[in-house]
Amino acid sequence: MNGAEITQVFDYLLMVMLLAISIAVIRLQNLFAVVVLTGAYSLIAAAWFVSLSAADVAITEAAVGAGISTVLLLAAMLLTSREAKPTSAFRHWSALVVMTAAGAAVFYALGDLPVYGSADTPANTGVGMDYITRTPEEINIPNVVTAVLASYRGFDTMGEVFVVFAAGVGVALLLNLSGRGRREEGGE
């Protein structure tokens, strides 16, 4: 058994856990359990990204998914009730139809994807190879993805940072994360 086969075994184990968590998130009524389970989901997803050797995506997923969004979901939960109302299984039948169609389309498209880890994919032969050969000379750092994000597409990343910052400020104001308004209402 070589390295690629070992990582694939762990990929499948992690994916089974992701599936179990997704089903539990749908089925559970206790909202706190759902918030904690989404945090655990992000941790497993990030471990999976490490196994797919996407270390930078794993760091982002851990920081955003397990760190910030757990806190944001908790803050949102404090504004509502702690329990979800039970809904009947066939109430959202239109969503089920849309999801089944989308899933069938994805499975249809799977046949055209290149083999896992194949060297002659479009990503590995076209502009990707160009970045890989040029990064050591031009940027001189070992991680090609960081070079692409922070240098070759620096303005694009800066725009993303602006958007994420604006969204974060908006959410923080909506959720009243500081709790100051509530305290003044209660005190006077």
């Binding site: 058994m1 390295g3 070992i6 990582t7 762990f10 184990l13 992690l14 856990m17 179990a20 968590i21 539990a24 559970l28 706190f32 359990a33 904690v36 389970l37 945090g39 655990a40 941790l43 497993i44 990030a46 471990a47 490490v50 196994s51 050797s53 270390a55 794993a58 760091i59 851990a62 920081a63 397990a66 760190g67 757990t70 806190v71 908790l74 803050a75 404090l78 994360l177 500081s178 709790g179 100051r180 509530r182 005190g187």
Partner: protein, 108 residues
Amino acid sequence: MTFSAFVDILVALILTIAMALMLTRLFLGPTLYDRVLAVNAFGTKIVLFLAVFSLAVGRGDGLDIALLYALINFVATIAILKFFSYRSLEVALHDSEPRTARKDAEGR
């Protein structure tokens, strides 16, 4: 396959089983504190899994991410518990004076 690589993979598999057990406690856990404890232990299992996995596969970058996870896991646990005791993140942790006592002091 060398013996140490075999042990690495065996330990990673055992850690995966431990993660599954923590998940069942997360699914079933009757009280809030069961779930907080389970998710904290689950994060620790993920950190250990990443360290063993990066050893088994021979990639060093897993160790850096394992360190980052340990930090995030700690911060997330503190945040969850703080939210449930104070309903806000702006309270300093050393401000452990009970809320009712402070209200009495203001009333006087």
